[in-house]
Assembly symmetry: D2
Homo-oligomer: 319 residues x 4
């Protein structure tokens, strides 16, 4: 079963402030508009091999509409669809993709057929092993990297992702109560491509954040300089996570969704890697260099609950 699912993306993000959100993704994150249709804009990082990795759509509220996953080949797609259908979490086929939900209600779309990016003249790169010209605009994110989903039952979601989608479990958090509060999962040697963390609000189907990749820590620091001067609310300034050792910057796009600029971490080459499970006591150390984790990272998600709206308003984003 290992290898049936190749990678994450694209994802569809909802925003009640579509114009401002678009300006954020283009001017601040430095993504390109690949196309537009209806209430949706299709965006890409300069390193995304597919036509787009992010769909930003106008909606009444924020949140993640669905998360795409590309199957390794047509057989893998059929195999996964059948297996998921048997769990009762399937929705059905649409445009070649098999739609389903995870145990917390997040919609996922598994597909195989895709379109590779063919850059227009003004975005043609100098070297053929790069899908698009590097423009260096704003944070200049390279590609969609990972998705962090809130869940009422992290353990159930983690088991679903591992058993049904082939994710490997690299790190996790277990509370003193025994409850599983976080799971870092990957389809490759990268330390995380999908994360589930406990939803403090006990709702369902919510997004914690989308993360976009840059190649170096220095670019993450630059991104913070870009954010602060563009008036983007920085929720957590650049630092290094203890869990998974990713280097991060967290801010909010105007629609209210949390966005991470990420790099670093480590590669897991060991085929028998035992998940590293952190206790509450260990988590109390804060981040890698001792930075106390910002409170809002523990509860805020999108769409926001009533309780989240105050925080969103203070951050100057749609609530």
């Amino acid at each position: 079963m290992r290898g049936d699912v190749a990678h994450l993306g694209p994802v569809e993000l909802l925003t009640p402030a579509p114009e401002e959100s678009l300006r954020f993704f283009v001017e601040v994150l430095g993504m390109e508009i690949e196309s537009q249709a209806g209430q949706s804009v299709y965006l890409r990082g300069w390193g995304d091999y597919q036509r787009y990795s992010l769909v930003v759509s106008e909606a009444k509220t924020s949140g993640l509409a669905w998360m795409g996953l590309r199957a390794w080949d047509p057989e893998a797609l059929q195999r996964r669809a059948r297996a998921i259908e048997a769990t009762g979490l399937g929705i059905g086929w649409q445009d070649g993709a098999y739609r389903f939900i995870d145990p917390d209600g997040h919609e996922m779309r598994l597909y195989y057929e895709t379109e590779r990016y063919r850059p227009p003249e003004h975005l043609r790169p100098s070297w053929r092993n790069q899908p698009q010209r590097y423009t260096g605009r704003g944070a200049a994110v390279k590609r969609l990297d990972h998705v962090n989903l809130l869940a009422r039952d992290v353990g159930a979601c983690r088991r679903f992702a591992c058993d049904m989608l082939g994710y490997r479990h690299y790190e996790g958090i277990r509370l003193d109560s025994g409850e599983e509060a976080g799971a870092w999962l990957s389809l490759t040697t990268a330390a995380h491509e999908l994360i589930y963390v406990k939803d403090a609000r006990e709702t369902g189907g919510r997004l914690h954040h989308l993360a976009f990749w840059v190649d170096t820590r220095e670019e993450c620091l630059r991104a913070a300089d870009v954010f602060i001067d563009a008036g983007v609310h920085i929720e957590a300034a650049p630092s290094k996570h203890g869990v998974a050792q990713g280097f991060f910057l967290y801010g909010f796009e105007p629609g209210g969704n949390r966005i991470e600029v990420t790099t670093g971490g480590y590669m897991v080459y060991d085929p028998d890697h035992e998940p590293i499970i952190w206790s509450e006591a260990e988590r109390a150390r804060g981040q890698f260099w001792g930075v106390k984790t910002v409170e809002s990272l523990h509860y805020y998600g999108t769409p926001p609950t009533e309780d989240d709206r105050e925080y969103a308003r203070a951050a100057g984003v749609a609530a």
Copy 2:
């Protein structure tokens, strides 16, 4: 078959100048001595999960003794051994590893059982998701990253690696004559973990270079500062490859083997990735930013041929 082989390492490197070589790996590259036995020293980068990734052994000449490959599980090991044996390139079993050669004569050792690193007190890391304390000594390389082997018939070696070991072919070079002159291969999404390039000397079983990973380009620049002041001959100053986009620094360890400090590159997520094949005309552009490729990178390998000895002597290393 995809996934039978998990990763590269350890490798055994030969040196006619063992004391000086050891000093290079410890003081300049910043590796740790894990243990010693007979004429061999076992070394590791701070991020290697196994006990060691490099064995440095005293020998009459330089070069690569063998290259280790870890199988995904015991069944995968048996499956690969049987398949390779059928090609006639097998040598046989030794200490749980299946020994064989590639079509150019490089010895490889496929194994499954391994020892994970258990750091002594003074090398215990602050976080459990890191195998060893980061000391920051010299270039402070994180782990063995890839091996570049010279081959008389690159195509034959590339096919062997793909068909027998499960490598994927991401980039390559084809001469105007039609001859395959280079192949960038990987077991994971990383852009290269094994490279074959044409041996200009038409010998066999020679090493082009060993590459060690650092996380950022800035660390690669630092490594060059460390090299120059440590009297290490820099063959190619830090810059970015056109092929595979890796950021590099090439120097020679005192035994005469070429060592790269590497970072960067890109990840291949596309399961149907078509190899990107470069023509002679394209290669004539030089490296990514136009740096002309240093001549010696086209011919020098270890063990050196008679023709290589002059270059080695000029570089101040064992010839």
Copy 3:
């Protein structure tokens, strides 16, 4: 008068834990021992042009014994000595240096004659425009950068530094009460070389921190990785100051003195630069990217007061 004083350094730091302090400066910060005499060790960064920039001396408590300042020429030295003597803060001449105190009681030593560094063979650099070989050990600090002194009357100290020593006033903090709570001063275009901040303990002659320079933000991040794994207490993880825009890492050497690894900031070229004065409201924003300033940065200094000892003990340093 502009230009009578050329630069800061060396400084003498006191420590009740001399062996552990020495290990910190050599192994963690990566400085070299230039010589030893009595209870003192003379240390240098690889970029310091003088023989040493830091004297670490065994003492009953921590703190700064004195801070050296090099005069531009012999006449400048005499001119300053006479002017300071007239203020009543002079102590007198010793070994060619004029000793005096600032209004808060910190001893300073103004001198002209000095010894330039002559590296021994094993520390000879590859290029003659660098005083010493770059070894890349630990944080590998380049040179002493600035000193931050606590003061009961910041305004009085600032005026003394500007009027008597020729410092320029680039940034400052003024409380709502009208009291001057911080002053960033420089002898050059660098944004700060001497800082005075309000001593919350209302003692006298105390040190806030010594800062050592690295050339890039990336090296500051590396330094944090080195600190955490060396068991050095990190008081404030790498981030960017709002005031003066310096990039910082704060930790404690085992003797209890606060040490900063610093880079970044900006250059002041305007000869008529108006000091930028920050209000309490502005300071409440925290650091550049919104990181809340760590509480202990507002009160802890060396030698510690009774109230500071608890913090020192928690940080695992001499109290």
Copy 4:
């Protein structure tokens, strides 16, 4: 006399391809258009404290029209004007600036009165100690850093700059013939702000390059990524100079003028710094890490001579 001249800038650059040049400075280097008048556009880096640091003007050929220098105060301006006038190199007063030429015929304009930058709303920074918002566009250069002028008699120009303008002489090149072939000069502790190098064409008043500052080496590497994909001819890929240790990237703006993106180097604190003079033999080592200096750096300047035009055409810029 030390201190009569405060700093370099603005400078006026000539281009026969004004539209393309403007696009380069705005889109690739990331500068802002502050204003336009007649055939001139006034540009600034995000860290320039004055209204503009670069004037780009349409002309029949490329080259430097003049180089501005700001005096420390009105008296310094008068003092310098009188002294220069006495040398016979004065031109006269214009709009409050004293115009003169150096011994090679480069026009310089010394002034005191200036306008500080007042950003419009959309370029207002988040922190008051930064003149303008950091937009992160393209190479995002911070400010004009230094000018490198070609000269037939380097020694004469160096002496003029030191004796008449107060520059300090930090590094230099002396040929085996005894001729002075390069001089690195500064008004501050920065290792170079004005450079004279031998004009191989023996013309007069030519420009070697203008250099713009970025804060880190990583930004210089990014700039090369931006250049290559924007179709800017890279003359010398990022590396580190041996002389003065500056980190560099050289390319050509469409008008044919050489532009450097620079960072790094070292600070000279020693008031008695002896110039470090390099011999031909030492220069033969190439750059810091051994990169051979690109041939065209030894002869090409603007305006181009007949002999330079071929190179300019090959680089795709105005000739």
